[in-house]
Symmetry: C2
Subunit: 215 residues, 2 copies
DNA sequence: ATAGTAATAAAACGAACGTTCAATTAATTC
DNA sequence: GAATTAATTGAACGTTCGTTTTATTACTAT
């Protein structure tokens, strides 16, 4: 046999991407074989090489697009306001929403970095650093404005990101808590953690967001 | 050749364990080959099988001993006091100290769970859950006593653990911050996060621990 | 000394891996 | 409808993998 009826390059490539994210997240990059991936897509292993020259190229593509998506999502959400509390709230909400929505891809981007070549690792880390810098800037502005009480901006940013990203480890949609409830809780914890002292009139009407500020 | 002069089973096994933790942490379990591990120890691959029947047995041993060590460390540190603030402070300090000290082993225990058989995975997760339960109990007691302000005990426990464990991702001993400084900062952030309202007289004299309570 | 055990080397096994190549068929273009 | 291009198969390549087997040497107890 050869070309199959109804075959379409674009559709196949999309199916490969999708299956790869799921498989790598579940099994790990090294543990997933190209034959396994091909079987999941319903194709022979050789067909994958029409779309991705090597296995590592495939991994890198998944990671790069995930990071680009994260940066793009933040760019679209980023509030014009200069109020650090509002900005921090937006950052937290965007981060949690994005990571819950793309749990598998986040897992891949966080866990499989060691499988990238040095050059590509650098590329991904650059994007990650840019994203983290956004949070550090918010924290610094808030600290300087006196609305946050923060020991060490860099350390606090890392702590917050680890805490928020950790959501994907235990959160499962449709269980005890809704996304909105989780987000509200994390918002509340974040605001306490940074010692936010003034209430921001622009408080979201989402659930128990009142906690997000006061303490 | 065969048995080498000066060879000693106990020493070899210890060397294998040590090298394995380091290699699995750096390369990942799947990416590390038994030949690579053997070379690191200075032995032939076949020699490894005298100490660990399979590669997975080796991984499981590393993980089980790490988790046992964590539980044991907490058991030795756990304060007799019933004061939730004191207990929480002890938990945080123990957790951070242990995880920084055993960065590589923690990496292994957190990242390679998917390479375990179902049965062994369950065993490790049971230990992990027991450890997390300790934190949940502290949080619950504190919330009931009115010294903590907590939305959801389970969610807060997960958030705290993710935050604290995240230390191993970015912290490198001998860089900008000392272990004591990092611990003090995390203690401070933790106490704010849970809304600890009363000062605990037993405050450590370690650095800026004054922040650990007040807000 | 000698017998027995502990610790390893050396070589080999079959299976699985990522990848390549030639052949073949489906769709598209002219 | 012929020529071209797109998409895929099936088989194969050389490597590497985890593991087993066998032989050999170092140590220990008698």
């Amino acid at each position: 046999m050869a070309r199959t009826t109804g075959s379409d390059g674009e559709k196949t490539e999309a199916a490969v991407r999708e299956a790869a994210v799921s498989l790598v997240a579940r099994l790990g990059y090294e543990a997933m074989s190209m034959r396994q991936l091909a079987a999941e897509v319903g194709v022979q292993a050789a067909a994958l090489y029409r779309y991705f020259p090597t296995k590592e190229d495939l991994l890198f593509t998944l990671m790069r697009e995930h990071m680009e998506g994260l940066l793009k999502a933040w760019d679209a959400t980023r509030p014009a306001s200069a109020d650090p509390v509002t900005r921090l709230a937006a950052y937290v909400e965007n981060h949690i929403a994005f990571h819950i929505m793309r749990r598998h891809a986040t897992h891949v981007s966080n866990m499989e970095l060691r499988s990238l070549s040095h050059e590509r690792l650098t590329q991904i880390l650059k994007m990650r650093t840019a994203y983290e810098k956004e949070l550090r800037m918010i924290l610094r502005d808030g600290a300087e404005a006196g609305v946050f009480e923060i020991d060490d901006t860099g350390l606090t940013a890392m702590a917050l990101i680890q805490m928020m990203t950790g959501v994907i480890v235990w959160f499962r949609p449709g269980e005890r808590l809704s996304v909105a409830e989780v987000t509200a809780s994390y918002l509340s914890m974040t605001m306490r953690l940074v010692g936010a002292t003034i209430s921001h009139g622009t408080a979201r009407p989402s659930g128990r967001a009142r906690d997000a500020v006061a303490l």
